[in-house]
């Protein structure tokens, strides 16, 4: 039942005959998870919170970067450097205190996906890379959850609803990912700021239709648009005859061909000595404890493994970052944690750590 406060707040919905209090109560009862609080996540979350969706889960392991503000309208200039999910939770709570916001400050992975997705009725994909898109799709198929898909590139966008009552899914549309060189993301290719606003709003619209049980949701169809000419098409997606069977979650970085071989993730003490001697532009991080650092160090920035998450905002995402500890084990753990939970792809481990470096001299 809606309270008097809610009846006042949602008055303009209640006036629409097709929507009415039945539609509004369905929104209130819904639990929706939005993957990614970025360009697409911004309008999706703002509109769903405003519309009165009862529970909104938000998952993102990133912090706000200045270059996000051109399109990620959840944030202000004062948000720079802060965790996206925390800023988002504050913004949505202020927009609509009747919504329950459930933040997850981590990246979605094959390990946590099923546990996190399980409790929600509807999943919305606002992620920004192919491995996550295949992961979200497969997890939705395994858990029988409907998925609202949206993706953007420069001036173009796509929207669809997958896996709704066994309808076609992302793999029926794109069975295999494109090679990485033909799959640029927003950071590499650029994107018009208003485009995620359009595509994310269309995703929010599909979500509200599905939840309230109105209209004709975009099930089994792909909407595609080019914003430069406003060319749009809706294409029917058939089920693939030779369908890939999804029976478990896999390693999606490997599936998408972007996994870095282990040897490429290491630098030897000799290589590091050269890099230091030649004054190369890279960030050196020491993940040992302060007392160890006091005894001996290489002049790296001290970010102890035990409190590493406090420092993620200070780790460079653009240039090469070399991480070391005493013997190479803790730094390996640090790299794994930063890759899996925060999406860093530019980290290398000093093989053998400080001990091996000192032995060399």
């Amino acid at each position: 039942m809606l309270t008097t406060d809610e009846l006042r707040r949602y008055n303009r919905h209640l006036l629409i005959p097709e929507f009415g209090s039945a539609g509004q109560e369905r929104l209130k009862a819904a639990q929706v998870l939005v993957i990614g609080c970025g360009g697409l996540g911004s309008p999706i979350l703002l509109y769903l919170a405003a519309a009165g969706v009862g529970t909104l889960g938000i998952i993102d392991g990133d912090r706000v970067d200045e270059s996000n503000l051109q399109r990620q309208i959840l944030y202000g200039t004062e948000s720079i450097g802060k965790a996206k999910v925390e800023e988002t939770a504050k913004r949505l709570q202020s927009l609509n205190p009747f919504c329950t916001i459930e933040p997850y400050f981590e990246q979605l992975t094959s390990k946590n996906a099923l546990t996190i997705l399980e409790k929600y009725d509807l999943i919305i994909d606002g992620s920004d890379n192919f491995p996550t898109r295949y992961l979200v799709n497969d997890a939705c198929v395994l858990l029988s959850k409907p998925l609202i898909y949206g993706a953007i590139y420069r001036f173009e966008g796509q929207v669809s609803i997958f896996n709704y009552q066994n309808s076609p899914n992302y793999r029926d549309l794109f069975p295999t990912p494109p090679p990485p060189e033909l799959a640029p993301n927003c950071a590499e290719a650029g994107v018009l700021g208003v485009l995620p606003g359009i595509i994310g709003s269309l995703q929010a619209n599909e979500a509200i239709k599905l939840l309230a049980g109105i209209g004709e949701p975009l099930v089994g169809k792909l909407f595609v648009m080019d914003a430069l000419t406003l060319t749009t098409r809706i294409i029917k997606i058939p089920r693939l005859p030779a369908r890939f069977i999804i029976d478990k979650l896999i390693d999606y970085d490997e599936f998408c061909g972007i996994k870095t071989p282990d040897w490429e993730m290491e630098v030897t003490p000799e290589q590091l000595a050269e890099m230091l001697k030649n004054n190369l532009d890279f960030q050196l991080i020491d993940v040992r404890e302060a007392n160890e650092y006091a005894v001996d160090n290489l002049g790296g920035e001290l970010m102890p493994l035990s409190v590493l998450t406090d420092f993620t905002g200070q780790i460079n995402r653009e240039k090469l970052v070399v991480i070391h500890c005493q013997s190479g084990m803790r730094s390996q753990k640090a790299i794994q944690q930063l890759r899996e939970q925060h999406g860093f792809m530019n980290l290398k481990n000093l093989k053998g750590g400080l001990a091996a470096f000192r032995k060399m001299h």
Binding site: N129, P177, P196, R233, I235, K236
Partner: protein
């Protein structure tokens, strides 16, 4: 026969324009069209996941094309 090709995403980058008109033999299929595109624009070779839609529906390789069909090329994009 004359066909109109409408392309999105990286396909539009490869072809260099949103719309393109091409001439194919009268009995051409989707497979022939793909071969033609690869011959004209070798980068299509790398897009193994490229699906071809005819008018408003996805088609498989054996589907026959008809004059004035609109071919729509929609490669996956990942931005968010």
């Amino acid at each position: 026969m004359n066909l109109k090709i409408l392309s999105f995403g990286i396909a539009k980058e490869i072809i260099g324009q949103l719309e393109l008109s091409v001439q194919l033999s009268d009995s051409a299929t989707v497979a022939d069209l793909k071969q033609f595109l690869i011959a004209q624009f070798p980068d299509f070779q790398k897009l193994s996941s490229l699906r071809v839609a005819i008018n408003t529906e996805y088609a498989d390789d054996s589907t026959l094309l008809h004059s004035n069909d609109e071919i729509v090329l929609i490669p996956p994009v990942s931005g968010g």
